[in-house]
Amino acid sequence: MATASHYVRADTIQRYTFRERIMHWLTAGVYCYCLATGLAFYTPYLFWIAVVLGGGPTSRFWHPIIGLGFVAAAVWMHTVWRRDMEVTETDHRWLTRVNDYATNQDELLPLQERFNAGQKLFYWLMYYGAILLLLSGIFLWFPEYIPFSLAWARSTMVLIHEIAALLTIGGFIVHLYMGLFLVPGSMTAMTEGYVSRAWARTHHRLWYIRATGGDSPRKNEAEPG
């Protein structure tokens, strides 16, 4: 056991490396801070969140700075997961049958790689959302440098910032629901790093085959290291 690969074990497979888990939870943490403070500024009914998090001025001060952290984390994630997230022809076929996925008839769907088409869509939603939030957020961060003749830019950027945030919130709700409730095993995958073989076979067959060298555990040669 001592020299065994950490990648494929007899009954489990490593789904996310330590680096990926750090990356995911860092992104999640900064996103949640921006989400909480952002919701406080979004509606008076949630302004109490800003009070809980240190007061309105404090929240306004940190929101854009932590927001930069979210963008940085998104860029890091992009360098690591960009290849895995490329949308393929199979993903298009999967998406035409997304109804079967939503009704838990997964056996009707094309076999999936490490990430399925839904995960990829969520990834790109957050990636482009981060870019939009950054670009519009700069205007909201330093409005005092925008001359009155460009006042339209201020209100346009506020609108873009809020729409982009709402889109990421939509994705985030689905992401939370799936991670916590719909797909048992995915939460421990992101905390401990491992999934069962059966989990990998069921949800990400092509990745499972690639990682193990096939359905048979004897083909462990495929494992790295």
């Binding site: 007899a10 005092e144 609108l159 709402l166 059966a198």
Partner: protein, 300 residues
């Protein structure tokens, strides 16, 4: 200004109705700025600084009578100067006391997300409460008159208070007291509209300003600072007074339909996820038909 607290509500041992009930004056207050009698002396600016305890700012010479380019967080009140050459070659010196208009539909208040940072009083005054300000400057985005100014050190936004601290004590604003030509007046909105109308009629009758008029823009619900202008058709000549100001359309969309759309979408998303779980439940992992034997994991 208002004698609301001393309005009689009930009288002991009194037969019949209470005298004075429902005969109260309109408590909406208003400042009139008659630019046709403004001489640009800046006494109002000095009075404003003195009352609010701010230092005078250094002036910038730009070959006109404009002493400084813009309002500032500690400079609520600035005379805008413009030399206007008419088509017939006549020159007019246009001077306008610029500052918060105290809109009945204040864009700053609509845009502000901070609880209690902007207060609109029943008398019409729109006041910033810096203790509650979070420094986001959404008010700047909401204002169609370019009035709120940011103090980058304290991260608070300031503007003319219409001397709410004086008006609340029954006094008129500091600028009114200082004006030497009587171009500034303060009173109830009805009285001030009346006064402005009489002045406009006078201008039309006795001067060449046949298109004189009152600037009380309906796009922001009317304002509690109104102007008498020589030419109501061209307010923009007076240092960029907007012709038909509105709370920006995008701000109204942002604070109106988009909020409700967003709230409904978020609530629907959460409810939808919960309903989906109850209907379809969690995804099952299909057990492998041939469960692999546990294999010793040693390097090959």
């Amino acid at each position: 200004m208002s004698n609301g607290p001393l309005e009689i509500k009930a009288i002991s041992g009194h037969a019949g109705t209470v005298p004075g009930r429902d005969a109260s004056r309109d408590y909406q207050i208003c400042k009139v700025i008659d630019v046709t009698t403004c001489i640009g002396c800046k006494a109002c600016e000095v009075a404003c600084l003195e009352w609010n305890g701010y230092p005078f700012r250094e002036t910038v010479f730009d070959n006109t009578y404009q002493t400084m380019p813009d309002l500032a967080w500690n400079y609520y009140n600035l005379i805008r100067f413009n030399e206007h050459v008419a088509d017939d070659g006549t020159l007019s010196w246009l001077m306008r006391k610029d500052g918060c208009m105290h809109c009945a539909d204040p864009g700053c208040l609509r845009a502000c997300p901070a609880d209690g940072a902007i207060v609109q009083y029943a008398n019409g005054i729109v006041d910033f409460n810096q203790a509650n300000c979070i420094g986001c400057q959404y008010c700047v985005t909401g204002c169609p008159f370019n009035i709120p100014k940011f103090n980058s050190e304290t991260k608070k936004v300031h503007k003319c208070t219409l001397c709410s601290d004086r008006v609340g004590a029954g006094l008129e604003p500091a600028c009114i007291k200082a004006c030497p030509t009587g171009c500034l007046h303060f009173g109830s909105k009805d009285d001030m509209k009346n006064l402005a109308e009489r002045r406009v009629a006078q201008l039309k009758e006795h001067t060449s300003h046949k298109s004189a008029g009152i600037y009380d823009p309906p796009g922001v619900g009317g304002t509690h600072v109104i102007y008498v202008l020589h030419d109501i058709e061209h307010p923009e000549r007076y240092g960029g007074l907007p012709k038909d100001p509105h709370v920006p359309l995008l701000v109204r969309i942002w604070k109106g339909p988009l909020k409700w759309l967003g709230n409904v979408a978020i609530a629907a998303g959460i409810l939808g996820a919960a309903t989906h779980y109850l209907r379809f439940g969690p995804k099952k992992v299909e057990e492998e038909s041939a469960q692999p034997a546990v294999k010793k994991e040693e390097p090959n």
